[in-house]
Symmetry: C2
Subunit: 216 residues, 2 copies
DNA sequence: TCAATCTAGATTGTCGACAATTACCCATCT
DNA sequence: AGATGGGTAATTGTCGACAATCTAGATTGA
């Protein structure tokens, strides 16, 4: 997953840099993407830069209007809650399929990951857990939607709104229950628990950050 | 939904034409996308054409390899079955949300649509039913994934593999049950029925066309 | 003083051209 | 004969330039 590693083409390198800058907030949300300015900064032609912008649009990181230009997407709580609905549906299905297709070894590795998480108290393995299950679904279309179309956007929200550390410990317990269902090869239960897990995260966000309701 | 209508930009027009040609099979699946050839045929520069190809890639209609070129995607039964898993998850969620958010008028209109479908025996309103529910979910991210990222690809499969006419009448009955659940404002039931509906379509495809299993 | 209009600047979409890489074809060798 | 290597042609990625459009600021009028 090392993105900045090898860039087969100039546009790839520019895309990686821009993607990282937008997700991390170095390029502010809502700000304009000036083609001449960025072309100078990266020392590339506008053609390569426009290619990169096109891919940013495909990742839902920028909005483009013809003859006007591209702007970094505005992050609204409303849209974040929408994304959680999609995640609930998609990752729930992923869990169901993972119960069928993940190997015993993969499940044991995942169990080790969870135990490390409990010991080290490092909440950032949260993402790894979900990622492993999505990959375990062995459904390329599913992992494409989750890991290409929504991944960067979710990462951007996490950067912008800060970590949901308040739920880290309860989330770990829920991860454990999901893993148990996977090892029981109980796809229906795995889906049910995964959906409830994501729904709880959504409710947590709704209650914690909704009071200062921005946007629509 | 008239795509070929207004093209704000040249690349838009080329994209619409190419998208239609690929979906309908006028450009064969697996065939190469030659930039010089198509640029001449559409009488546009390669820059505009490459912009269009980039969007085709975002729609999952072509695969691109750097320094090699773009090819129209190959349709495998395996991938079609994958898509049906995604649809099951996403449209199931859409039905749940539609039970909450669709207005009484929208539901009545949908009922009229179904009755027309029964009388006219026109199976092509199948798509309209699903489309209406997706829109009724009032979740822009959800409808974006379904109507932009997967729509053209599903249409391409329908063109290529022919219509699943064998299930038209039973599908209509299932649509009726889903609508009843929606009018009862029973989101849980609507989701359950929608998922079962799509799962049945998937099983039908698996049994009917799987014997001559092509691809992986 | 505020609104509407016009002008100037900047930006986007589009175009043609060039270099590097790839694919294809033919000759050569085992 | 089949596989391997070299050479040529074509294609892709990249670049700079131009025209049409949009944005912003100044100007004019009420």
């Amino acid at each position: 997953m090392g993105e900045l590693a090898d860039a087969a083409t100039v546009a790839d390198r520019v895309f990686d840099s821009l993607c990282d800058a937008i997700v991390s907030g170095k390029i502010a949300a809502g700000s304009k993407i000036s083609e001449p300015e960025l072309a100078k900064r990266f020392d590339v032609s506008r053609a390569s830069l426009r290619e990169a912008i096109g891919r940013l649009e495909a990742c839902n990181l920028v909005n483009r209007r013809p003859r006007v230009g591209a702007r970094v997407v505005e992050l609204s709580l409303h849209e974040l809650l929408e994304i959680y609905r999609v995640r609930e549906a998609l990752e729930g299905m992923a869990a169901r399929l993972a119960a069928e297709f993940m190997s015993d070894k993969e499940l044991n590795d995942l169990k080790a990951l969870l135990e490390d998480e409990l010991q080290l108290d490092s909440g950032n393995s949260n993402h790894d857990f979900h990622y492993a299950i999505v990959q375990g679904s062995q459904n390329r279309r599913l992992s494409h939607l989750l890991c290409d179309d929504l991944y960067h956007l979710m990462r951007m929200y996490r950067y912008q709104l800060g970590r949901d550390s308040g739920r880290a410990s309860t989330a770990s317990k829920e991860h454990g229950l999901i893993l148990d269902a996977l090892q029981d090869r109980d796809g229906e239960m795995a889906e049910l628990l995964m959906r409830r897990h994501i729904r709880k995260s959504r409710a947590y966000i709704e209650k914690m950050i909704m009071p200062r309701s921005q946007g629509d």
